[in-house]
């Protein structure tokens, strides 16, 4: 493997149409779970021009006003006065009710071993979890920085620091590695959209963004842009409005952004729009949990955990650990540890992470918040799979 290279990762703001769809899908999951932890639901969303399309299959005792949920997400993101806005957009829902197929999986505190073993996966999927020593949250540095930039880009809009910004925006960070260690920032690209094409002028925008976004993001970062770092702000010229009226969006199209920014492998399955009984979603959380704890325990500097599931089985078919030569003990030994200390069964994951209760426990939704700025390495949310509570256990061995 090459030791000197540049890796770039991209992130998008919550106003990006793809992310908008992810958030609507997950807001629907939240809405169901808030009032019915036994709800099963899959929600896909697409958005184009002023039409939002929601396709959902669900089995639940409660009723959900899908359009209203979607409109609230759109409003919260800030599409209020635009061509595409929460009030005037049309919402097409395609709804199908299912017969519940996970009969009798009890509430989390009543779940027995037997229940967990009975709850089998309904997807065949190989999932990856990753962690490395490049950032405080053990995320790869490029995606960590890219998320930080988009988050700040949204913040300056919502806090009226740069009120002329529109909700849609993307960032990209290129990190130059030497001997697999981040050395410098090679390049930064920020694409922001603005409400008025003529205002502000590109020079002013660039200055504002550098000052309020880039500088503030890199204030506490050990690796910061140097004089040779190339910084692009709207290299394609001013982007008016952005959002669905310019380009369309779809649930599950930002998998790399949701995970590790392309730095590690990620499963092809999307994360958003799926309830916690979908192993292709929660398995990824479990894999990250294991990987992060291994790195936190100091067993490796970087670690990828690979889990494969098959339909009809409660637990994984295989669990593998790859430390890319950074392991303090052999990968096989770590694998054994992981298998011993982590529960990768679907029911086990749901139970240990309390995944069905989280929406009703957190204010303003859980999965919806998760749907923007990455499902991993979050500092703004208490994510159970980000806990390093098993590190001590692993270390002691």
């Amino acid at each position: 493997m090459k030791r000197d290279y540049i890796h770039t990762s991209e992130s998008v703001t919550e106003g990006h149409p793809d992310k908008l769809c992810d958030q609507i899908s997950d807001a629907i999951i939240d809405r169901f779970l808030e009032h019915d932890v036994h709800a099963r639901v899959t929600a896909e969303c697409a958005v184009s021009l002023s039409v939002v399309f929601i396709a959902a299959r669900f089995a639940s005792g409660i009723k959900v006003d899908f359009p209203n949920v979607a409109r609230k997400v759109i409003q919260r993101i800030g599409y209020v006065e635009h061509e595409f806005n929460f009030r005037t957009c049309s919402i097409l829902t395609s709804l199908k009710e299912m017969v519940p197929d996970q009969h009798g999986f009890p509430d989390d505190d009543e779940v027995s071993e037997e229940d967990i073993n009975r709850l089998v996966a309904y997807d065949q999927v190989t999932l990856f979890g990753f962690a490395c020593n490049e950032s405080p949250t053990l995320m790869p540095l490029p995606i960590w920085l890219a998320h930080k930039l988009t988050r700040r880009l949204s913040e300056v809009r919502l806090q009226n620091v740069l009120p002329y910004l529109a909700p849609d925006g993307t960032t990209q960070v290129g990190v130059e590695y030497k001997d697999r260690i981040p050395q410098r920032i090679h390049s930064i690209t920020i694409n922001s959209s603005q409400n008025d094409r003529a205002y502000p002028k590109p020079e002013r925008l660039r200055e504002d963004i550098l000052e309020n976004v880039v500088r503030s993001v890199f204030q506490d970062e050990p690796v910061a842009p140097d004089k040779n770092t190339e910084i692009f702000v709207n290299p394609g010229g001013p982007l008016k409005l952005g959002g669905p009226s310019v380009h369309s969006g779809l649930t599950g199209r930002k998998n790399a952004i949701d995970t590790y920014g392309g730095y590690a492998r990620n499963s092809g399955a999307a994360l958003s729009g799926k309830d916690p009984f979908r192993i292709d979603r929660v398995g990824a959380y479990a894999a990250r949990y294991a990987a992060k704890n291994i790195v936190a325990a100091g067993l490796a500097d970087r670690c990828e955990v690979q889990i494969s599931y098959s339909i009809g089985l409660a637990g994984p078919v295989s669990v593998q650990v790859e430390t890319m030569g950074t392991g303090k003990i052999s990968d096989d030994a770590i694998s054994a540890l992981v298998e011993k200390h982590f529960d990768f069964r679907l029911g086990g994951i749901v139970k240990q992470f309390n995944l069905r209760k989280l929406p009703s426990l957190s204010k303003g939704g859980f999965y919806r918040k998760l749907a923007a700025y990455g499902h991993f390495g979050r500092t703004d949310m208490e994510l159970p799979w980000e806990a390093t509570d098993k590190a001590d256990l692993l270390r002691s061995l």
Binding site: S50, V51, F66, S90, S94, L95
Partner: protein, 1012 residues
């Protein structure tokens, strides 16, 4: 208009009479026939304080001015001259007479001075630009007053001057005309020519027979068409409109024809405008003017004068016109033109004869008929020349050719359609389906998508309150009692619930009256239900309304999904009451009342309320959110934030019995069903699922309050999918129908409300509910379901399809039989076998086989699977290419059989009448029997499951066969037809060759059911 511009201005105004001091009559050049100049003079001249009265006449070109005797008449004259000059100059620059009025801002300043009754008399309600004038001036001009309307004397005077509000009915087509029309056709002309030829060649009896045939055809045509005409005429019986007018200081309801110029019309939603009128007051008045302008969106009206003179009718937004419909709001208007002078009257007098428009199917039939005439003429020409070449006489060949042409032309084709359609109307009327448009019958059969307006069509439009969610708890209403859980609950114990009901009663337009100590509620179903539940709770609703008088109302609109009213209260002065879409109302609330205490409304509580709303809506309830605010009198009352939340009200509008089954039936018939509702998503989902609108597919709901901003292409794409349109405001129904149509579908729309009018009209078939529906809906609809029963709609669709199929069957029969005649003559002639049929025989075949079996086929009962077929393609021609092929084949079968019989005769008797007789009997009988085959395209006479009997056809076939038999037996007929006696063996041959074609055609049908 021609404008006279004099060379010298000094000649413009001449004094023609000035004997009385202060009263001068002027002659004004250019005034003659110039109404605009007349009004200009009448309006501008009185601005001079010395002028008291002005009366100008465009008929005489004179102006009579009464003025201060101290004033110099010449000064007045020069003023008139100035007005005239400026007018004539302007009109020279412009291109029309009205143009000049555009430059008259001063008009609005020209008001009659106080205390003065103006004499300015305007004789007719013609093109006076009332829309440019101040309403006060209009009132005075027509001797009316806004408050009191016309006085008794003024009414008398106006009646005398302008006449009653009657538009002379267009004369209906006289019976005599219908009869005469029977002779105005190409076949009759041909027959006439044939008769003439017969006379010339000495065949007087032939000529008489031909004339008799013409006569018989005409009588039959007359009888059926006259009957059809009557039925069609009856479609036009409109609802006799009444008008509310102010006259002699009272509000009266009078028949439309008694409305006079000068009357003050009181306009309310659903009311017809009975005469052209100028608005003097308008409160969100919207009017559907599509009758006049073709513009289907209602127009919002104002009462202020317009500035632009040269504007089309549709833009004169301070005028309302006769025949249009008030769709919303209210207003007062003064009648300025009535009867024949109204715009509608002018249009009607343009149409000398109001005939029912030709339906598409009639058009198609006429086209086919004409094509046939040319084809058969060509063939007859060929027959004629072949005959000549073979050495036959010119006269004989001419007669043969002409009679062949007569026989080949299916003369009754368009009449068959009219008659069948008219019979269809009668038949549907028996099923309580009123058809108001002839073309709707066949369109009904081809409907592909049907839109239901939920309220009133799918539901009964009878609301009742079932549930409250107040103070964060659920309160059920059942059996006139209030329950919290299972315990009975006194609403007066709950401050928040009581307040909620108070706001519901106040923010409410229902009229509350008492009759014999019983409350009588008149308003919308929703609002009535809200008042009713308050009454049930024991609230003194009338006292409540009296204590809190209404100051101001903001109606629910596309941009604000709630209604708001402002009331006077004791303390602190004003009460703002809101009710509407729960989500929208809740978003504006910061407080709530809980256990009698006003507390902050937390986000968690908002979430709970929303969940409760979803749950209520998910139970198919219509849910409203209720809130209020208080303010002191001088604060701005436009509060849209910081309101106090009171709770949710859940109301049910039960789904009509049988709708679910009807929807399933419509799906079976290959129709797509679409529901349009103003309800929020979960309610729409619950109802849509209950009805099974999705037909087993995922239920697609389009939720939009702003359909108008959606790109038409997107709308088109979306509307292909959607089963339910939710949160639709009434004005968008039209858009939905149109976008469905843009996908190429034939769309029917059902509705009952005033606001359904435009959509009903735009739909290919508008269907109104007869009992629950409003007059407006019934008036614009093509079809009215008298019993409000969707099941009858399915019968109507089935009837529509059957009628179309029957017309096709008749057409099929007529074409096949006529083709066979041509083929027999042509083939025999071409082969040099002589001409099997003579003129008389051809005419006989025409008479016996065409008319009765053809008409009887049009009365076929529905085929049993007619409703299981998908709707036909509206673009498909009535006779397709493959039909023509099939028809030709069937004709060839009959031809072959009768030529076989002819050949047998030739061999036995040689060329001559005896052989011809064989062919004649064989062809006629096989044609008559062919009617049996034409009963169905797929079913055959061999099928074990027989088609439903058609007694008319049985009678026609038996009767025609009887007549044919008579030609064998009655000697006189034999002589006339030139046939010979038929031997027994010959009869057997004839019998065999008559039946064989039937067997062949039946055996070769594609047949989908039963054994072949």
């Amino acid at each position: 208009m021609y404008i006279f511009v004099p060379e010298r201005l000094t000649e413009l105004v001449k004094v023609i009479h000035d004997a009385v001091r202060g009263r001068v009559r002027y002659k004004v050049q250019g005034l003659y026939h110039s109404l605009p100049l007349r009004y200009r003079i009448e309006m501008l001249l009185p601005q001079d304080p010395e002028v008291r009265e002005v009366s100008a006449s465009a008929l005489t070109g004179n102006v009579l001015v009464i003025f201060d005797p101290e004033c110099n008449p010449r000064k007045i004259g020069s003023q008139i001259e100035q007005i005239a000059v400026s007018y004539l100059q302007e009109s020279r620059n412009g291109d029309g007479s009205e143009q000049s009025l555009a430059a008259m801002p001063e008009i609005r300043a020209a008001r009659p001075r106080k205390g003065e009754q103006r004499l300015a008399v305007i004789e007719t309600g013609d093109s006076t630009p009332w829309y440019l004038m101040e309403s006060k001036f209009v009132l005075v001009s027509l001797n009316s007053s806004k408050k009191r309307g016309l006085s008794a004397e003024a009414a008398q005077a106006n009646l005398k001057k302008y006449g009653p509000n009657i538009i002379p009915e267009s004369a209906s087509r006289a019976k005599w005309d219908i009869f005469i029309d029977q002779f105005k056709s190409l076949p009759v002309a041909l027959l006439g020519a044939a008769a003439g030829l017969s006379v010339m060649t000495g065949g007087l009896s032939d000529a008489l027979v031909i004339l008799a045939v013409v006569g018989i055809n005409a009588v039959i045509g007359f009888v059926t068409e006259n009957d059809a005409e009557k039925t069609i005429k009856s479609l036009k019986t409109l609802i006799r409109p009444y008008a509310h007018v102010r006259r002699e200081g009272t509000l009266r309801e009078i028949p439309a024809d008694q409305v006079l110029v000068g009357d003050i019309l009181v306009l309310k939603p659903g009311a017809y405008v009975t005469a052209d009128a100028r608005l003097i007051e308008s409160n969100r008045l919207t009017v559907d003017e599509s009758v006049l302008t073709g513009e289907s969106m209602p127009v919002t009206k104002i009462s202020t004068p317009l500035k632009e003179a040269k504007i089309p009718l549709g833009d004169r937004v301070n005028m309302v016109y006769s025949g249009t419909l008030v769709t919303g709001g209210q207003g007062l208007a003064i009648v300025v033109a009535s009867g024949r002078s109204s715009e509608m009257g002018k249009i009607q007098s343009l149409l000398a004869e109001a005939e029912a428009p030709e339906t598409p199917i009639e058009r198609q039939l006429t086209t086919i008929g004409n094509q046939l005439v040319w084809i058969s003429s060509a063939i007859c020409g060929v027959v004629f020349f072949i005959g000549l070449l073979r050495g036959n006489g010119v006269i004989q060949m001419l007669k043969t050719a002409i009679s062949l042409a007569v026989a080949a032309v299916p003369e009754g084709l368009p009449a068959v359609a009219t008659t069948t359609l008219a019979l269809g109307i009668k038949n549907m009327r028996r099923h309580k389906v009123l058809i108001r448009n002839l073309h709707a019958i066949c369109t009904l059969g081809s409907v592909q998508t049907i839109c239901f307006d939920k309220t009133g069509t799918v539901t009964y439009n009878k609301m009742s309150v079932l549930m409250f969610y107040s103070g964060m708890r659920r309160i059920d209403v059942r059996n006139e009692g209030f329950f919290s859980g299972e315990t009975l609950f006194n609403p007066f114990d709950s401050d928040e619930l009581l307040k909620l009901m108070h706001v519901c009663v106040l923010c409410n337009e229902t009229q509350i009256d008492t009759k014999q100590r019983q409350y009588v509620l008149s308003g919308s179903a929703t609002e009535n239900a809200l008042v009713q539940v308050a009454i049930t709770a024991g609230v003194d609703v009338q006292a409540l309304r009296e204590q809190n008088p209404l100051l101001h109302t903001d109606y629910r609109s596309d941009n604000r999904q709630f209604m708001r009213t402002v009331h006077v209260t004791g303390n602190p002065g004003r009460l703002v009451a809101l009710k509407g879409s729960p989500v929208d109302v809740l978003a504006r609330c910061t407080f709530q009342i809980k256990n009698g205490q006003k507390t902050l409304l937390t986000d968690e509580e908002k979430d709970l309320i929303e969940a409760e709303n979803d749950s209520m809506a998910g139970d198919a309830l219509r849910v409203l959110g209720v809130a209020y605010a208080t303010a002191s009198g001088d604060e701005s009352l436009d509060v849209d934030e910081g309101l106090t939340w009171l709770g949710l009200v859940g109301m049910a509008d039960p789904i009509r019995e049988g709708v679910k089954e009807s929807v399933a039936m419509l799906h079976r018939a290959g129709l797509e069903t679409v529901m349009i509702t103003g309800d929020q998503g979960p309610t729409a989902y619950a109802v849509g699922r209950e009805l099974g609108l999705n037909n087993g597919n995922p239920l697609e709901i389009l939720d939009s309050t702003h359909l108008s901003v959606t790109d038409p292409a997107v709308m088109k794409a979306l509307s292909k999918q959607v089963h339910v349109f939710s949160r639709v405001s009434p004005s968008h129904k039209l858009q939905i129908v149109q976008s469905l149509q843009s996908t190429g579908r034939v769309v029917a729309m059902t509705g009952d409300g005033i606001n359904d009018g435009p959509a009903l009209k735009a739909a290919d078939v508008g269907i109104a509910m007869g009992q629950g529906g409003t007059d407006v809906a019934r008036e614009v609809a093509d079809v009215v379901l008298e019993e409000d029963d969707l099941e009858t709609l399915i019968i109507a669709i089935s009837d529509g399809r059957t009628i179309y199929n029957n017309i096709r069957k008749t057409l099929h029969y007529l074409l096949a039989t006529n083709f066979s005649e041509i083929q027999v003559m042509f083939v025999a002639g071409a082969l040099g076998l002589g001409y099997p049929l003579n003129t008389m025989q051809l005419l006989w075949i025409n008479l016996v086989s065409d008319i009765f079996p053809g008409l009887a086929l049009a009365l076929e009962p529905a085929e049993p699977d007619v409703i299981d077929q998908p709707p036909r393609d509206p673009m498909e021609p009535i006779v397709k290419t493959e039909d023509f092929k099939r028809i030709t084949f069937e004709a060839a079968t009959m031809t072959a059989a009768s030529l076989t019989a002819y050949g047998y005769g030739l061999m036995k008797y040689g060329m001559g009448p005896a052989a011809g007789t064989m062919a004649f009997h064989s062809l006629t009988t096989s044609q008559i029997l062919h009617a049996l085959s034409c009963r169905s395209e797929k079913r055959t006479i061999f099928d074990s499951e027989k088609s439903a009997p058609n007694k008319y056809l049985t009678a026609a076939v038996v009767g025609s066969l009887g007549m044919q038999l008579a030609t064998l037996l009655v000697p006189g007929l034999r002589t006339l037809l030139g046939t010979t006696r038929v031997a027994l063996t010959d009869a057997l041959v004839i019998g065999a060759t008559s039946v064989l074609p039937l067997l062949v055609t039946e055996a070769t049908k594609t047949g989908v059911v039963g054994p072949k």
